[in-house]
Amino acid sequence: MRMSRQSRSKVIEWRLMLVAAVALLIFISSACPAAAIGVTPGRTTIDFEPGADKSVSFTITNNDHKQFNAYIYVEGDLKDYITFDKQIIPFNESDNSKVFTYRVKLPQRIDPPGDHWGKIIVMELPAGWEAPEGETRIIATVAVIHQLRVKVPYPGKFMQIDLTIQEAVPNESVKFFVKLYNLGKEDLAKAQATIEVFGPTNEVIATVDTEPVAVKSMERGELIAAWKAQVNPGMYHAVVTVRYDGEVGKTDKNFYVGNMLIDLLDVTVKDFKLGGIAKFDILAESRWNQPIPGVYAHLIVNDNKGDKVADFKSASVDMSPFERSHLYAYWDTEGVNEGEYLTKMTLNYADRSSEKEIRTKIGLSSITTEISGVSVGAVTSEEAVLQQYPVVLLVAVLIAINFAWFMYFRKRKK
């Protein structure tokens, strides 16, 4: 039976549609997030003990709630000491996470001293894919690693230094916490740290010393120092030098004084006519000692019922340290009525944002603005945890007073 020209073209049309649909499906499936796998914690650290036998657990997370198989294997110089029961952990869409436990059985001795690693690799494979080894793989795999770190002590004295800095605002104290881990087999009689603070032009602007401390083998000590930050807001650099029993160790870190802040100074609109384009001139000032790139303002205008009337952004600018800059944002007011509006303005910069509310009064030929504060939310309650000693103290006072009265009356009666 021969097909007519019309029915042949219809078949071709259908085939083309089918091909297009398949192509679309392939495109959609490739554009959607294909994989998201995680482990927590990412690292477990243990101190070496000869012949230690421990169970260690971590959680495998299924962040995208999809069906897959987690294929698990081990690498690293500790791989011969790590064992587990299951190499494939199946996940369904409903599984948020699963706990995985492995056993580490350490030998009597590990050389050389220092950190040794076992890496438990969790590879995401499509459901049903269960034997990747020895087969030709035609898929791209994503894997995350849980690290097992075993710290083997050093002969003699060996110090690991870790610096934590509690930042502060100008004229308050920045605190330096220098944690000392004695990874050597010998005790440390005396360790003391000197902290040098460097300014933005790399000059030393302050030096502070800590009190000395003794640290036993495989134990931890802490040195603390404070520095009153009588400086401008911005980024600074601390270099810590630790002297311990004739040895020297160093570490360093950047820290901030004050918050990276761009202050909103003024918002003005000139030459305005209702129904036309309003040019918002936003004056902002950087209170930071480093350049801040990509600063822009996002304005959302709401009417007195809270309904959104407009949503617009300014172009972005790069601000130099302590610079005042103008940001310009444009709003088409066609269809907008006279009246009072509330504008939420967010200044966005360097992964941060600051928010202000602006009362905006729109007239036929003017827009006036008034910058107000920021609101704060409320919270809910749970179980109380208190120390009762002040109440106990008052009850004790009460008993004492009454006892005193009692003794007083008794004496008077006699």
């Binding site: 490739s30 997030p33 796998i37 927590t40 749970e382 179980e383 109380a384 120390q387 009460l398």
Partner: protein, 163 residues
């Protein structure tokens, strides 16, 4: 005479009870809401919340249970989120205000190593720590900060670990 003394005794007792009651009320109002005791979190700058009527509080956070070297934050209001991220580890915290003090509570900040393959050839660090990313065709590794993306080959195998 004895009646007057009896009245004085009652007045003093009532006064002390009233002071104790008001002190207790003040203490009762200071309640930690978050983090919960023994909580494990992947949030490196967790939100601290509490209830209480006082205007200002001192929040102490330490990695020693005895609070020998705490980070101290003066807070006005009933919530606080540290402006800098905490290192991974176990911490204790407590609140102080007007003679009241909560008992120490413990929380642990753990690392999360998570990787998303967003679309063909793009991966994103969706955990809370910088990652070392190993790619199939390369020796060495690339550092990928939190929330950052990296373009790799479409058929590239990729492994990520805590830096």
């Amino acid at each position: 005479m004895s009646r007057r003394i009896d009245a004085r005794v009652i007045m003093v007792n009532l006064a002390v009870v009233a002071i104790a009651a008001s002190w207790y009320m003040n203490l009762s109002s200071l309640q930690v809401l978050f983090p919960l005791n023994n909580m494990v979190t992947e949030d490196r700058a967790p939100l601290f919340e509490w209830s209480g009527a006082a205007g200002s509080y001192e929040l102490l956070i330490d990695d020693d249970q005895d609070f020998s070297s705490p980070m101290a934050f003066n807070v006005s209001g009933n919530r606080y989120r540290p402006s800098q991220e905490l290192d991974f580890g176990t911490y204790w915290f407590k609140l102080k205000s007007e003679g009241a003090e909560t008992r120490p509570m413990k929380f642990t900040v753990v690392s999360s190593v998570a990787l998303s393959r967003q679309e063909m050839g793009i991966i994103r660090n969706s955990g809370n720590t910088a990652l070392l990313v190993h790619m199939g065709g390369l020796t060495g590794a690339v550092t990928l900060a939190v929330n950052r993306t990296l373009e790799i080959g479409e058929n590239e195998d990729v492994k990520a670990e805590q830096k």
